[in-house]
Amino acid sequence: MSTETLSAEAPATDETGEARHMNMIEAINSALDVMLTRDSDVTLLGEDIGYFGGVFRCTAGLQEKHGKTRVFDTPISECGIIGVAVGMGAYGLRPVPEIQFADYIYPGLDQLISEAARLRYRSAAEFIAPMTVRSPFGGGIFGGQTHSQSPESIFTHVCGLKTVIPATPYDAKGLLISCIEDNDPVIFFEPKRIYNGPFDGYYDRPAKNWKGREDAQVPDGYYKIPLGKARTVTEGDAMTILAYGTMVHVAESVCREKGVAAEILDLRTLVPLDIEAIEASVKRTGRCLIVHEATRTSGFGAELSALVTERCFYHLEAPVERVTGFDTPYPHSLEWAYFPGPVRIGEAIDKILSE
C-alpha cells in the first residue's frame, strides 16, 4: 500500500485518523468499531461474538464498548441469524451478522438467497436488506472439510448479492466499511489463513505476520475502499494474474521466486466485478491466469475465464488458465496436496509462458 493509492482511493480526511499497524483481525474489529460509533443502526449478531468476542476475536471488546443490544450472541441457528437480519433491515437497522465459519452458512441459504437477495426486487425497493454477512473462509489451518471451504461461487451465482473478499488488513477495513454502508446484502468472506499474516503458500516455512508491511498500516478512523475496484498488486507485462484473498499472496510469492513480471490484480470484490481493470490488463499482457482456492468446477474462475475469453479473445496469446482447489471436499491429512500452492501455480505460469 503506497500513500498514493491510499489518497487516490480514499482522500484522507480528519476522520481517517492516524495509521498504525493492525493485523486483519484488528482491522476488521476497527471497521466494526468505527461503524458502531458512527451509525446507531449498525448491529452485530452471531454465535459467540458478544461477551467472548468471536472465535477468531474479530468482535473482541465491542459488546463492552457498544452495549449488549447492539453487539450480541445468538442461538446456533444460521437460518435464524440471517432471517432476523432481514427483519432488522426491514425495520431500518444495518445488521452485520457473523457466521462462525463459511462452512456453516448453508442452513441460512434460504433466507439469504430467497429473501435477502430478492427483497428489493420483489417489493419494488419498498424493502431492502442492507446487511453484511461476515464469515471466515478458506483452508490452510488443518480444519478438515467443515472449517476450510471456499463457497464464494455459490453466492456470486445469486443475483442481488454482492461478494467481497479482502486480502490485506488495510483493504479489509476499508472494504468492510463500504459493505456496511451498502444498501444491498453483501457476503464478506475473511480469508482466515491470512488473519495473522500473509501466506506465501509454503506451509513448511515459518509463518509470517503482518508486521512491517505497508498494507498493514491501517488508519484508526473512517475510510472506505469502493466496491467493484480491483487493486494492482504488482505491475508487469508477462501475464495478468487474477486472484483474491489468500491466493493473492501465494501468487505474488510464486512470481517473485520465479522472476516472472506478472500483473497481479487483487479483485477484492467478485460482485460487483472490476471488469474494466481486468479487460485493460489482459488486453495489454495477452495472457491470463486465474487463481482461486475453491473447487474448480463452476468455481468463480469459470466466470472469469468466460469473461476474459469473451472480451479479450483477439488479444490472447495463450489459452486462459485456471489454478484451483481440486473437485473434492477439503481433506484433513492431505490438506497441502489439495491446496493450490506454488507448484500448481508455477506449472500453470510455465504453461502460459510457453505458448
Binding site: 472465535v55 446456533i76 462452512d103 442452513p107 473437485d327 473434492t328 481433506p331 491429512s333 492431505l334
Partner: protein, 431 residues
C-alpha cells in the same frame, strides 16, 4: 437513521430488547442454589406404553436414582447387576483416560484438534448400554463414549485422530469425527444438528420395513436451535418414528450459555410437550438414571410407542475443544460447585457402597486403563501422526467423491501425483 415511529409511539411504553446473560462470568463466586435439584427416587415412572402426556410433568422434573448416600432410590432404579455396573464404570473411566491422553497428544503437536467429554461420560456410555447392539446411533462429536461402549478399538480411534495411514476414514475427516458402520455408529458431521432428521429417517425406514431396530441420536443443547432439530421433531411425531433424541444439556455451547438456546424460559425436555411426544429430563451425571431413562425410551420405541426426547442435565467440565479457553467467558468455580457431582465418581461410590468395589481396585483399574490407552497410542503412532508423511496415498483423496472417478478427478489425481514428483524429485524427505 431508524427511529421509533412517532417519536416514542404516543403514550405506549418503550419496548426493550432482552439479551440473555449467564449467572456467572470469570471471577464471579458461583452459587447454584437457584437450580432445583429434586430428591433421588422421588420421580414417578410411568409405563413405557403410556400416553405421551403422562411423561410431560417429568420434563420439568429431574429423574435421579443415585443419592448422596450412594444408594439407588425409587422406581427408576434399573436394578442392574454389579457386573454391568462395573462394566459401565470401567468404560466411563476408559473414556476419561482416553480423553486425557488424546488432549495431551494434540498439545504435543501430534494432531490438529481434540474434544473431551469430561463430566458427560454417563450420557453416552450408559445410554448406549440401554440400547441393543444393532440399534443405530447418530452421534454428535462428543459421543466417544458410545463407540467405547460398543467396543471400538482404541487404536482405530487414535488412527483417526492422527489422520494417519491406518485411519479407516483415509485421513479425510477432522479428528474425532469417527464413523463405524460395523458398530452401527453413523459418520459424524461437523455441521451441527444434521444428524437429527437423519436419525428420524433411519427409524422411519426401519419401521416401514417391519424391522426391530430403533435409532438414537445425540445433540448439544446449543444445537437444538438449528432448524434441523425442529424438522426432526416434527417428522418424528408425524410418523411416530422409533427414535430417541438425547439432548445433552452441558450448560455451554462454546462461550454461549444455555440461555441462548432458549433455556431461560423452559427446559429442553419441555420441547417434547409442543410436539406431543414423550419427554424425560434426567440427571446426566447419574449413570443409573441415564441408563433407566434411555432404556425406557428404547422399550417404548421398540413397541411402537414412538419417539422420546431426553434432556440429560449435565455440565461441560472442560473447554469446548483444544481451540477453546473457557476461563475467558465463565467462572472457573462452576465445575467445583456443580451440584450433580461427577458421573464416574458417583458410580464408583455406589459400587463401593454395594460392597462390589473398592478404592484399590479403582486405582488399579485406572492404571490399567491408562496403560491400555498408552499401548494403543504407541501402536497407532507406528502408522504416523498428522503432518509427518505417513498418510494415505494421494490418489485416495479423489476416491469416494462419487462411486466412480469422473474425468476431471482422474486428471486432478494425476496432477496431484505430478506435483508431488516436482516438489520432491527424490521422494518425500523423512521427518
Amino acid at each position: 437513521m431508524a427511529t421509533a415511529k412517532d417519536g416514542k409511539g404516543g403514550n405506549r411504553p418503550p419496548l426493550e430488547l432482552h439479551v440473555p446473560e449467564p449467572h456467572y462470568r470469570p471471577g464471579d463466586a458461583v452459587d447454584f442454589s437457584h437450580l432445583s435439584i429434586p430428591e433421588p427416587g422421588a420421580q414417578p415412572r410411568p409405563d413405557e406404553a403410556c400416553d405421551a402426556k403422562e411423561t410431560h410433568h417429568l420434563c420439568d422434573d429431574l429423574i435421579r436414582v443415585l443419592g448422596d448416600d450412594d444408594q439407588a432410590h425409587g422406581p427408576w432404579n434399573p436394578r442392574l447387576s454389579p457386573d454391568t455396573l462395573r462394566t459401565m464404570l470401567r468404560e466411563m473411566a476408559l473414556v476419561r483416560a482416553f480423553d486425557m491422553r488424546m488432549y495431551r497428544a494434540q498439545r504435543q503437536g501430534k494432531t490438529s484438534f481434540y474434544m473431551k467429554c469430561t463430566g458427560e461420560e454417563a450420557t453416552s456410555v450408559c445410554a448406549t448400554h440401554a440400547l441393543a447392539a444393532d440399534d443405530m446411533i447418530f452421534p454428535s462429536y462428543r459421543q466417544q463414549g458410545c463407540l467405547i461402549a460398543r467396543g471400538y478399538e482404541l487404536e482405530e480411534m487414535i488412527n483417526q485422530i492422527y489422520s494417519n495411514k491406518g485411519d479407516k476414514l483415509k485421513g479425510r475427516q477432522l479428528p474425532i469425527m469417527y464413523c463405524s458402520k460395523r458398530l452401527n455408529f453413523f459418520t459424524i458431521s461437523g455441521n451441527l444438528a444434521t444428524q437429527l432428521p437423519q436419525a428420524t429417517g433411519f427409524a422411519m425406514a426401519s419401521a416401514s420395513k417391519g424391522d426391530s431396530r430403533i435409532a438414537a441420536t445425540w445433540v448439544g443443547e446449543g444445537s437444538t436451535a438449528e432448524g434441523d432439530f425442529h424438522s426432526a421433531m416434527t417428522f418424528a411425531t408425524v410418523y411416530n418414528a422409533p427414535v430417541i433424541f438425547n439432548v445433552i444439556n452441558n450448560q455451554w455451547a462454546i462461550s454461549s450459555f444455555s440461555g441462548f438456546a432458549g433455556g431461560e424460559r423452559a427446559t429442553f425436555a419441555a420441547r417434547a410437550v409442543g410436539y406431543g411426544i414423550a419427554g424425560l429430563r434426567v440427571d446426566g451425571n447419574d449413570a443409573l438414571a441415564v441408563y433407566a431413562a434411555e432404556r425406557w425410551a428404547a422399550d417404548r420405541a421398540r413397541s411402537n410407542g414412538g419417539p422420546t426426547l431426553i434432556e440429560h442435565f449435565t455440565y461441560r467440565a472442560e473447554g469446548h475443544s483444544t481451540s477453546d479457553d473457557p476461563t475467558a467467558y465463565r467462572s472457573a468455580d462452576e465445575q467445583d460447585e456443580w451440584p450433580l457431582g461427577d458421573p464416574v465418581n458417583r458410580l464408583k461410590k455406589h459400587l463401593i457402597a454395594l460392597g462390589e468395589w473398592d478404592e484399590d481396585r479403582q486405582a488399579e483399574q485406572d492404571a490399567e486403563l491408562d496403560a491400555m490407552v498408552k499401548t494403543a497410542q504407541k501402536n497407532a503412532e507406528k502408522n504416523g501422526i498428522l503432518g509427518h508423511g505417513l498418510h494415505h496415498p494421494f490418489h485416495t483423496m479423489f476416491e469416494d467423491v462419487y462411486e466412480e472417478l469422473p474425468w476431471n478427478l482422474k486428471e486432478q489425481a494425476e496432477q496431484a501425483i505430478r506435483e508431488r514428483a516436482i516438489k520432491w524429485p527424490e521422494g518425500r524427505p523423512k521427518s
